[in-house]
């Protein structure tokens, strides 16, 4: 009877997905001293396919932290971002199931761990449960699990730091069963990968009804809306959260003494002007009434020692809600929680969960450092890319990280301007970051290393769009974007393929599609909300909305490992003298007449070369001495092409990609050529170096 009531309760409400595949009812209790969460969950899982399913598969993510031989730990070597796992006693994590029932039948003894990705016998992050009776097409099963999670010390997305807890990937969670044809699968089957260091997650959308019991002096933040709380005699409080149409549930808890809870509302009518709605309505081809955003209750949990940054957190959050909403459609949930993790807890920072993100800042960030702003905008962006458009992060990480990196750059440019990361010191713009994070070399035998000395004396504009160009150019040919991320050559390569290259690819695609792009990307976002698209679905959307077949582009950028690199040069001068024997009118060979200063025609030849593997249609802009210009077009296929001019003035300059559409071009310097080299550039920057080095030498002389 109790179970039936629960099921009815969690079946209620569903704003966007009337009949979700999965519904959760979870009760869990945090033990701060033991660093454990003891839980009980009831999952109603529906076979939405026409397959008969003989087993269930679950993620037990926390087992990645069980020992040093798990796939996660072998891949990470105990490091994630800037955090390091020490592996001291009490710091390991695991998930222990004490009871598992399916439709009331105890299957605890039939559970077994499988390793579908790498066969690592020490990895216990995927659990398989063979069923005594297969699940028919369209049928549902009720799964009841009791388990205990021991949280690891925080270094990668989940765990504890002192009494701060980020509890993510913390409960036994069903994998995704995909039918044949879903995400273009050849055969139906479970999609339930092991936990890898580079890849993140993939899950079905569902409804969540979660009750969490924590000490009463703890502040708690979680996915969804807090429905009610109940203080208990044992000094704990039970909080009930509810959220529908999301695919994950995470939460944090920490002593109230170290955190502030601030609530504000993003009021769409105040934050977005009619002019902005009109602008994006035109750009995206969306009726103005569909452009309207909705109000969002934003709750910020910020460390008390960061109280001076409250406004910065809210501004970044509001800017993100506004610009993502205008570009891609409104944020559909009415709540958003932003958590600022504590010092030494940055392993919890920069994580995205539905309606719940973690940020990350330092005690005294530069006023213009765009930290925490950058991470807030990025993690909020994941509400759209991965949260709403639920791609498979294991298999196609670029579909969320890449789209989100692209979107983050766009929002930051819109909200803060391209050169924001400089702050005025006595009226002089100084790069915001280094003056607090200055890596002072040890005197006297350590070099200046990577110290960018010029930045300390002069203002060098840093444009958002070039932020990832360097790492892209260094490593882009090691892997392809469309590849299971854990198979990438290295973590650097993963970062390029998941973040840098897709960002530049989308910027290039935006340039190539021109005004049609905002409609393309918005349509993709809207069409695939609450679904699981793959790369092909995106490409199909591009073709359909833009009316252009961009297969040539995606074949090279998404599936290829080549680089885009063209160059141009030219020769231009007088045609050679007529010397030797030429046929006269009668056809008789005759020695050419001697001429002192003949008036010879100008002959010019432009050479365009393809130095990289990518083949793009090429436009070459050629300018002549008389001010005229011509645009040549080449299919860019063969290794080179020449354009010859016999009856025009001398060429002044030639330029490949004159409209700067190719953000993927790795060597832009040789994309243009002019008759006369400009020496002033080298002279000017040499003189700057002289001044910088004079300062360095002077600093050295201090120690004499």
């Amino acid at each position: 009877m109790t179970l039936w009531v629960l099921l009815v309760a969690i079946a209620a409400h569903a704003k966007y997905i009337p009949d979700p595949i999965v519904r959760y009812k979870i009760d869990a209790r945090l033990d701060p001293a033991a660093k454990t969460v003891a839980g009980h969950e009831i999952i109603v899982w529906r076979n939405h396919t026409s397959d008969v399913i003989p087993d269930l598969q679950f993620h037990l993510y926390l087992n990645a932290f069980k020992n040093s031989y798990t796939t996660f730990m072998r891949e990470s070597r105990g490091r994630h971002r800037d955090s390091r796992f020490r592996g001291l006693p009490g710091e390991w994590g695991y998930e222990q199931i004490s009871s598992l029932k399916v439709d009331g039948q105890d299957l605890t003894t039939s559970m077994r761990f499988i390793q579908p990705d790498d066969g690592n016998p020490y990895d216990q992050t995927v659990l398989e449960v063979p069923l005594p009776k297969p699940i028919p097409a369209g049928a549902s099963v009720t799964i009841e699990i009791a388990w205990t999670s021991k949280l690891p010390r925080l270094f990668a997305r989940t765990g504890f730091q002192d009494n701060f807890f980020l509890v993510g990937q913390w409960f036994p969670k069903p994998g995704v069963y995909e039918a044949k044809g879903e995400r273009h699968r050849a055969e139906g089957g479970w999609n339930c990968h092991q936990f890898h260091v580079n890849t993140e997650f993939f899950a079905d959308y569902g409804n969540w009804d979660v009750t969490l019991t924590v000490p009463s002096d703890f502040e708690i933040a979680a996915t969804g809306r807090l429905r009610h709380e109940h203080t208990q005699p044992d000094g704990t409080t039970a909080y009930n959260f509810y959220q529908e149409d999301v695919h994950e549930f995470a939460w944090t808890a920490q002593p109230r003494s170290q955190v502030l809870k601030i609530e504000r509302t993003f009021k769409a009518d105040e934050q977005v002007t009619p002019a902005e709605i009109d602008e994006w309505s035109r750009k995206t081809g969306t009726p103005p009434e569909e452009m309207k955003l909705q109000d969002v209750a934003v709750t910020l949990f910020i460390q008390r020692e960061h109280r001076g940054q409250i406004e910065r957190h809210f501004r970044a959050t509001f800017e993100a809600i506004k610009w993502f909403g205008l570009m891609y459609g409104k944020y559909p949930y009415d709540v958003l929680t932003v958590v600022d993790p504590p010092y030494n807890g940055l392993g919890a920072g920069g994580m995205e969960y539905p309606t719940f993100i973690t940020a990350g800042t330092s005690y005294w960030p530069g006023a213009h450092k765009l930290s925490p702003e950058g991470v807030i905008v990025h993690e909020f962006g994941h509400q759209f890319w991965y949260g709403l458009v639920g791609n498979n992060e294991f298999e196609e990480a670029w579909l969320d990280e890449g789209f989100n990196s692209y979107s983050t750059g766009k929002v930051l440019e819109r909200a803060y301007g391209p050169n924001y990361e400089y702050e005025p010191v006595f009226g002089v713009p100084v790069p915001a970051q280094p003056w607090l994070d200055l890596p002072v070399p040890r005197y006297p035998w350590k070099g200046i290393g990577n110290l960018p000395i010029g930045q300390y004396w002069e203002w060098v504009p840093l444009e958002q769009k070039y932020g990832r160009a360097k790492i892209y150019a260094e490593d882009a040919s090691d892997d392809a974007m469309e590849r299971f991320a854990w198979l990438d050559l290295s973590r650097d390569s993963y970062r390029v393929q998941a973040y840098a290259k897709p960002e530049l690819t989308l910027r290039t695609l935006e340039s190539l599609l021109g005004d049609g792009w905002p409609k393309v990307i918005r349509t993709y976002q809207q069409r695939w909300r609450f679904k699981h698209p793959d790369a092909i679905d995106f490409m199909d959307t591009v073709r359909e909305v833009s009316g252009q077949d961009m297969k040539w582009f995606f074949d090279q950028t998404v599936y290829g490992t080549g680089m885009l690199n063209y160059s141009v040069s030219f020769t231009s001068g007088e045609a050679p003298l007529h010397r030797g024997l030429f046929d006269d009118v009668g056809g008789k060979p005759q020695l050419a007449a001697q001429q002192n200063r003949p008036q010879r025609p100008i002959e010019s030849e432009v050479l365009v070369r393809r130095l990289g593997e990518m083949q793009f249609p090429v436009t070459v802009l050629v300018r002549f001495e008389d001010g005229s210009e011509v645009r040549e077009h080449w299919d860019g296929q063969y290794r080179w092409a020449k354009f010859k001019y016999a009856s025009r003035p001398k060429i002044v300059s030639a330029q490949v990609d004159p409209d700067f559409q190719w953000k993927l071009e790795v060597h832009r310097t040789d994309d243009s050529y002019q008759a006369q080299p400009v020496r002033l550039a080298a002279d000017k920057w040499y003189l700057r170096w002289v001044v910088w080095i004079e300062n360095v030498l002077m600093a050295f002389s201090f120690f004499s």
Partner: protein
Amino acid sequence: MTVSQAISTGLCAAWRNKAVVALFFACNLLLAAAVAAPMHSAIADHLGHSMMANELARGFSASWLTEFQLAYSGFLKGFSTAIVYGGILFLVLNAVLSAGAFEVFARAEQAEPEDGGPAPASLRWCMHAFGRGLGRFWGRFLRLTAIASVFYYVLFWFWAGRAAQFNRWLFRDSVREAPHFYLEWLRWGLLFFCCFVVNVIVDYARAALVAHPDRSTLAALGDGAGFVAGRLGRVMAIYLALGVLAAAAVLAYAAFARFFPQSSVITVFMWFVVAQILLWLRWLLRLGSWAAAVGYYRACAGEAAVPGGEPVKVTP
């Protein structure tokens, strides 16, 4: 002598001996120009006939910098090393040249005629005293630099190494950053303060050495340390006041470089000239601090005449 008197005395002395200031400035400029020379050809080679040169001549291109860093990564590594070696070379050169500068401030500057009139040209011609000091003290000044290097090394080893590790270890499990943050600033502050103290001791040891040419390096160092220890507040006040003026010159340069357009041969040349004027000014302040040290040492030591060497007696 008060702090302000010492500062004004020092600055006036440096101003009167502009040739010495120019010598330091010229050594600095020439060495920097030599070290930076490969950068000119590297940039010119990389740009070739590219129109990117127009953009760089007008302003700056982050795109170009990205490419340049990748294409010339090996060169840039070597270039960084060359700057460091250039710095070490200049450190030694500066130690040697400072022997001449201190002699100038100790002798030519102290050679005041009995009637208060101008000193004879032979004494006012500072380069004469400069050469004499160079020949007489360069060895001991270098030894002072070597000893100071050991102190600096220990200071960096402790404050930038051990103390930093300790601070990290102390707060490795803390969830509050503030104590760690302020201790870091304290650590850096103490490092800089200790470096300043060593620097000041070395300067006053030099002043003691030229005042008492028969002293050994160690004796002069002890004298300098004792002198600074007895007057730490005033000595540091003189030192920091001139340091603040030098910092103001750096900021003035930064503001100028930021806002002055550098897009033509003329404007680039003007910018470079202004930069050099400000650097010359900083050398003037640096030598002014040495002259102030000499003057303050002499005043506090109560020496009416310059001891040692040839007595300086000026008759009208």
